[in-house]
Symmetry: none
DNA sequence: GCTCTTTTTTATGATTTTTTAACGCTTTTG
DNA sequence: CAAAAGCGTTAAAAAATCATAAAAAAGAGC
């Protein structure tokens, strides 16, 4: 997915220039010509990065930044014609990630954008499912049963992941086949029988009496949570 | 606790100026007058932020940055007299968090330092890996098996480093190819097979029955930790 | 230039995974 | 009750993936 950049600037030429440069660098671009609108757009579109001009007609750029930082940590690059030191410091301390003086070099701007994006990344949260001895760590792709690691094949894991994502709810045969095997395999219910057997053999204490993967006859399967 | 700043610069006047400014801003400061020493200090002292001059007598600043980024994510501000655009871009893309041209304004530098610190993540960094006779020291680029040093080629080492940094987790083929060979080599899985064979021959006691690098068929590989 | 090392490409056999097929059991339906 | 349909299990055939060796190409050092 292309990253989304929000340009907040009142000058149409600058916006056009930035749009051109950003799109060439494989960003999707949205624009706002005023501070209020910029904040609204930021809330609505959730851009990956914001390019903010300081000289806006309604709100001061630093004010926009402060309001934005009340709820968002999106990377913000401030663009400004003002080269005044105190202005820079104010913007940086208000939460800007970088401050670039106009006229700027486009390649440098793009490099600084890459830095901002690189830093923004993380939030490496581990999403885990756990119930009755079965643990599925979707982030690290690890499955354990009573603490012992279980090794699954690609298809087995894809199927289990789907069940985990909809844990507690019934998933239809059709849904499973489409998600795991692709939309042209929707008729191969036998695949499911085979792989559910495989999965049960690996994750159930007693595969004959499954407690994790329940069959909903005629409909599909369900992971108990 | 005061934050620790590491200054890597060969000019004593600059170091003195920075030390003065940084200490006034309540940093603890340590210094290095060349690249190799700077890297060693960074590994030893674990600074919160690094100020790096590009014009060093032994190693090029960008080279220092690249080496540092092999194992550390510490914020780095590059200071340079060179204002050349391609120089800036090279440094920023090599992992610098900011690029300030000398002569710089001290208050602005401090503001940019605050930004760098704000963005810094409290990352626990893996600098050495040790398990079952295999030792990998990322700061010194040294690999030993049962105490005996093993020599790896650049590609072999890059691959092993990637595995170490994600030790215990599965790394997909795609991830490995992108990180080691670049994003336009994502289809060349055969590279991986060849290099995993090479690595195993060098680091496994019995390459036929690997205990360190496990294959996750259809997915990728995993380093056991 | 030449040699030695490293990387990339090609070829082949082994291993693992996926698909297909067969059979017995249970539940539903006429 | 008997036939039909759905499910679970197992085994094999087919396909995909993997490991390894070796040749070719590219690069580094002299």
């Amino acid at each position: 997915m292309k990253p989304l950049a929000l340009v907040i600037d009142d000058e149409v030429q600058i916006r056009r220039l930035l749009r051109f440069a950003l799109e060439a660098a494989d960003y999707t671009v949205c624009e706002a010509d005023r501070g209020q609108l910029g904040l609204a757009e930021a809330a609505l579109r959730r851009p990956d990065v914001i390019l903010l001009d300081l000289g806006l007609p309604d709100l001061d750029g630093v004010e926009v930044l402060k309001r934005l930082r009340e709820w968002s940590e999106t990377s913000v690059l401030v663009l400004s014609v003002r080269d005044a030191e105190d202005q820079k410091i104010a913007a940086l301390d208000a939460g800007a990630d970088d401050y670039v003086t106009k006229p700027f070099s486009t390649p440098e701007l793009l490099a600084r954008l890459r830095v901002a994006q690189r830093r923004a990344r993380p939030a490496e949260e581990t999403t885990t499912f756990a119930h009755n001895g079965l643990q599925v760590d979707l982030t690290n792709r690890r499955v354990t049963v009573d603490g012992k690691e279980v090794s699954l094949t690609a298809t087995e894991y894809a199927l289990l992941r789907l069940l985990v994502r909809h844990a507690g709810r019934v998933i239809t045969h059709r849904q499973m086949l489409r998600e795991v095997w692709g939309s042209n395999a929707e008729e191969h219910r036998q695949y499911l029988r085979v792989y559910i057997t495989h999965l049960r053999r690996k994750i159930e204490r007693d595969p004959q009496n499954p407690v994790h993967i329940k069959t909903e006859s005629g409909i599909g399967y369900r992971l108990i949570s």
